[in-house]
Amino acid sequence: MAILGMKSFKLCAMQKDRKAILERLQVIGAVETKLTEAGDGFERLDSKSEYTAFLANVDKVSRALEILQQASPRKKPMLAFLEGRREVPFSVVEEAAEKAPGLLDQANGVLKLKAEIDGAKNEILLNEAQESLLMGWLDLPEPEGYPGTKRAAAFIGSLSGEHTADQIVSQLESHLDPEQAQSVYAQIVLARPEHTNFFLISLRRDAEAVEEALRQIGFSRPQATDGLTPVNRRESLRAQRKAMLQTIEENEKKLIALDSLRDDFERLQDYYSMRAEKYQVLEQLALSRHAFVLEGYVLEKDAQRLKDDLESNYTASLSIEDPDGEAPVALSNPSFSGALEGVLESYSMPGKGEFDPAVAMSVFYYFMFGLMFSDAGYGLIMAIACGFCLKKFKNMEESWRKSLTMFFWCGVSTVFWGVMFSSYFGDAINVITYTFFGKEMGIPPLWFLPMENPMKLLIFCLGIGLAHLTLGYVLNGVKKIRQGAVIDAVWDALLPITVIYPLIVILTGSDMFLGLAGFKNDIPPLVTQVCLAVSGASMVFVVLTAGRESKSWFKRLLKGVYGLYNILAGWLSDVLSYSRLLALGLATGVIASIMNQLGAMGGKSVFGVLLFIVVFAAGQALNFGINVLGAYVHSNRLEYVEFFGKFYEGGGRRFKPFGVHTKYIKIEEGKF
């Protein structure tokens, strides 16, 4: 329920123990290291290249694992991500370290097999494209590169467009002497509207002139230099393709056979992740020839144990001091409010001199979430689903546990408000009994039906806002007092309260309030006068004190007036902001009812029941999704903007200990 005490430490130890000590620190995961000052014969180690190499290995192994998963898919159960990492003794990591070089070769082998498969697949595409080009030449009995005989020159190629042999010859005639043209003979291999492939011969001595003439009418030769006839080349392409398909098949078989390596690869990947993290810390050490120094932070509760642990096992000395201003922040809360640490951290961790607001925010958070979601059916689904997961998966990661715990309590609160307002999937019970059984039945609300008296609920929501904001001001006062600024607490925290509360008391006796809420308090004139006096005096004090940082009296007064305006306008706009509780609460119930009405349109028949089931399931699921999002976002907003705005600045940094940040395994000895 608070911020945990933090200490800074300085560890001096022998070089020979370095590896063992760093491994020990990593396994217990209790310290955050910082850059240790070098100098005085101490130097820092540059381990960036090793670090990047380890990261590259992590990447390789994880890709190899993906490839193996593709080759022989293992179906994961739906909630597998909640199962958490397997706990293993440290010896497993040591084993992985021994096997690492060999296993890495195997991982590289997997990558190579996959690269070969990909390469072959590309080749096959290319090969097929080549074969389709050959189709137009299959009738040619000679290779495309066939030069002709001693006396006759052969030209094999194509023109764009469709031509007959005579047309080609007559086109050539305009570029040749009549005598040369006479000896030209063309034969069509294939004529298509796009292009015409043909075979042309001329006398050897005219070859140059004919070639030039052909060039002028747009002749192009096919690219083939292997000296094979088209039919033979097709056979050879097909043979190549067969070989490639075989390679693919063989490699895929090999990959399936390597499936047994997956457990080893998982450990290997984690081993490299651990090494990478260790080398990051290694950069922060200051080293001399025989000793090294490491500085960092450790939780106060762990400090002594850490000292005993290191000093008894190694030649080492650990000095523990009070931390500097840069120290990170760690929080500890019971699970009810600890579940909201994630929401808190999304805003900011507590800064210097602040306290942990998790407990203060948690009660209102769940309360407001429930009021906005406000449906017993939805709440029950949420609470049961989260509760089931929390119960079933004991080993889940901490962040999941926190989120699920948060939504569990949100669900409980939602059930509470749903029962208060009689919303069970909207008015599903009424609609079902009326449509299918002819007699409308429903569970009466424990409190009242919001749609029948929305003003009452509006006043209630604004009242919650008033309480929430007041708590914010009170916490501001507490913070100021803890920081020793008692007088500031009076001016900044007490005055806003004493300005507004008497006015609210008077307001509850007004006719306007009667119009809104349907009742009013009978306030004796004396009370009214006292209230006015208290509020008026507070306003005067605000005007006098709100600008107390300015030197000049005039400026101070102006700032004071502005301060008063801010307090009054602030209360008004902040409190009105809580009207969203009503709007979103009504929206959940009304939309759910709309879905029920739509579903019931089929009336009392078999078709009607089926329609109802389908529309009900889809509509309620949609409404659930949209409103759970709305309730979450706006609970956060009310906490962040309205509530934190009153007292909480944040700016702290979360304590991120050097540890085992892996994907598959965690270390048993980590419990320290």
């Binding site: 999304s346 929206a587 709309i594 976002v633 956060n636």
Partner: protein
């Protein structure tokens, strides 16, 4: 003339349903483009950017809500259309806040969502803050919904 009350009321209902719906469709579309771009770079951001994409979608739901409530006050669903001109105009008026604010806030919110999606793409750890910026815009849609809802409730109870 005696049917004009009904006509105005139906017009109001239609506005409440289609303007915010149109705005949300545009908004979710705009944000969706940015979301798809972010996921193309980093698929693991999917769930986060999906939430941000959905934020401008609520206005359409608010419009639907007011549209439906108007329908039941007009009596379209039960088949009666006896509405005085005054009541018809009043019902039209109750639909205006959510219709207009719903449309414009959805489009503005979408622009903020796009920026927030870019923010999450660069710094996924800042999701909590990124989500808050679009939520700020939504406040005004909620206020408009509230006014429409309370006014509709009030007009229903009046005997005019």
């Amino acid at each position: 003339m005696d049917k004009f009350g009904f006509v105005f009321a139906v017009l109001g209902m239609a506005l409440a349903a289609f303007l915010p719906g149109w705005g949300s469709a545009r908004g979710v579309g705009i944000a969706g483009e940015a979301a798809a771009a972010a996921v193309s770079e980093e698929p693991s951001l999917f769930s986060k950017v999906l939430l941000l994409q959905l934020l401008p979608g609520t206005q359409g739901i608010y419009g639907l809500l007011i549209g439906f409530l108007s329908m039941s006050s007009i009596g379209i669903l039960s088949g009666s259309a006896e509405i005085s001109l005054a009541k018809g105009l009043a019902l039209f008026g109750t639909c205006v806040p959510i219709a207009v604010v719903g449309y414009f806030s959805a489009v503005s919110q979408a622009k903020v969502s796009v920026s927030s999606i870019n923010l999450v793409a660069k710094r996924p750890d800042q999701f909590g803050k990124a989500m808050l910026f679009p939520a700020m815009v939504e406040t005004y849609a909620i206020l408009a919904l509230l006014v429409s809802l309370l006014a509709l409730n009030g007009v229903n109870a009046l005997n005019i």
